[in-house]
Amino acid sequence: MNLPGMLTPDIGLIFWMALAFIIVLLILAKFGFPAIIKMVEERQQFISESLTNARKANEELASIQAKGEKILCEAREEQAKIVKDAMATRDAMIKEAKAKASAEGEKLLQEAKAQIQVEKENALREIRSQVAELSIQIAEQLVMEQLKDDYKQETYINSLLDKIEK
């Protein structure tokens, strides 16, 4: 039987094929494929880690934003409260100041009134003393006029004495 060449068993060809294939297999199994697969798997792991990290970072960012929002909100509330307080305080102060001022005014008025009273009394007293002095002077003048002659003096003294005696 004469088979075509490619169908004929050939020990030599099988031997070389086996040798070459086994050497290639050993070399590639040791140094070739594991390195490539390892590289890809490391990269895959890295990518998935990066994705997880990115997601985490996003979540964190979102939470931080929410926190910021909250803080801002609180701050606004606080501000409103502070403003309200301040306004209340201001109003209270104004009110107090007004009350104080009016009280002060009242007091000043009272004092002024008292002063005026005193001044008035003083003036009255002075006027009175002046009036008295003037009356005395006038009376003196009058007396002096009336008592210019001795007779008159005597009569007057006598009348006075009479009075005293009485």
């Binding site: 060449g5 490619m6 094929m17 086996a18 070739g32 390195a35 590289m39």
Partner: protein, 364 residues
């Protein structure tokens, strides 16, 4: 622009082929009938030299070393195949007793002193062997190159591009989409190097076989036998208890597996052989057929042109153009087949290996 250029190239090639073949036919016709079968089978078979072309003056042939054992003295002899040709040209019948037996596909035979001729042990670096060595070299260079790239770069900073990236994508495609699902998530790791090596070995061999002058390595039964044998070893040496139980004690009535008709173990044993046998024949037949078709179309050119007379120019020219178109088509198809056959061999190997690790699924 490119379209016009391509058309120009195709026209020139066709014209070149028709004229040269018509010219060649004149010579061939003078020498006699063309033996298509011999041309095709000769190109499909192995050879002791790498033959590219031949004109009347120049032989485009690279002689390859022959390594044979002298069957009388049991000594190993190493010589170039050209030595035998030279001896024959000088009128001698053989070189140190060795000659090419044209009746036995041109293999080296030894003329013994008692007049009989035997096939000596032959470990020659034939055309196929040298292409296997070339394939091995390509694989080692390519993948060690990729591995070197991987070593030289931080996997967290760089991703390969270009050729390394392509090889990486191909390797990972095979690992993730073929080996992992077919062998099974649990056991696939130890088989990855073997299956990848098989795939790339077959792929590179197939593609080199398509290059003009390339040898028909994967279309040789010895090669596919070896590859199928390796897969058989991988299947059976890695088979777990479940696998062997399925073979010797499957879930069938006892009378079918023990007594009186122990047919199931026989069928299962047959399965052990038939799975790798199918692998062997599939790859061999596909690659051989593809080469045979291309060679046959090529032979049509010479057959029609060798008819002689003015007819050879008309019919030969027409057939040349047609054949050229068909050869072009077949070559594109074979590029696809080269990949598909490598893929199928790896896929089926992976599936068979996966079957030898059955998961507990029966007796639900």
């Amino acid at each position: 622009m490119i379209h016009n250029f391509l058309r120009y190239v195709v026209y020139s090639v066709v014209a070149f082929f028709s004229f040269s073949s018509a010219f060649a036919s004149g010579k061939q016709a003078a020498e006699g009938e063309i033996d298509v079968k011999e041309i095709v089978l000769g190109h499909l078979g192995d050879a002791y030299e790498w033959h590219f072309f031949a004109t009347e003056n120049v032989e485009g042939t690279i002689p390859l070393p022959c390594i044979v054992r002298d069957e009388e003295t049991h000594e190993w002899k190493v010589f170039m195949s050209s030595k035998i040709h030279e001896a024959m040209e000088h009128g001698e019948a053989n070189y140190q007793g060795f000659y090419f037996n044209e009746e036995r596909n041109g293999k080296i035979y030894q003329q013994l002193s008692d007049g009989t001729s035997v096939r000596p042990l032959d470990f020659s670096i034939t055309k196929n062997v040298s292409q296997i060595l070339l394939t091995s070299l390509i694989l080692i260079v390519v993948f060690l190159g990729c591995a070197r790239w991987a070593k030289g770069h931080n996997s967290k900073e760089d991703a390969p591009g270009g050729f390394v990236g392509m090889m990486e994508a191909l390797v990972m495609y095979l690992v993730n989409d073929l080996i992992k699902p077919c062998v099974g998530e649990k056991h696939y790791r130890p088989f990855v190097p073997y299956l990848l090596t098989v795939f790339f070995f077959i792929l590179v061999s197939n593609l080199l076989g398509l290059v003009p002058g390339g040898a028909n390595v994967t279309g040789n039964i010895n090669i596919t036998f070896f590859l199928a044998f390796c897969t058989m070893l991988a299947i059976n040496l890695s088979g777990n208890k479940e696998y062997w139980k399925e073979i010797f004690w499957p879930d069938v009535p006892v009378m079918l597996k023990f007594y009186p008709i122990a047919i199931m173990p026989v069928i299962e044993m047959f399965g052990i052989i038939s799975k790798p046998f199918a692998l062997m024949v599939r790859l061999f037949a596909n690659m051989m057929a593809g080469h045979a078709i291309i060679l046959s179309f090529l032979a049509i050119i010479f057959v029609t042109c060798a008819m002689g007379g003015w007819m050879s120019y008309v019919v030969g020219g027409g057939m040349t153009i047609m054949s050229f178109v068909m050869i072009l088509f077949m070559n594109f198809l074979e590029c696809l087949v080269a990949f598909v056959q490598a893929y199928v061999f790896t896929l089926l190997s992976a599936v068979f290996i996966g079957l030898s690790h059955p998961v507990h699924e029966h007796k639900a």
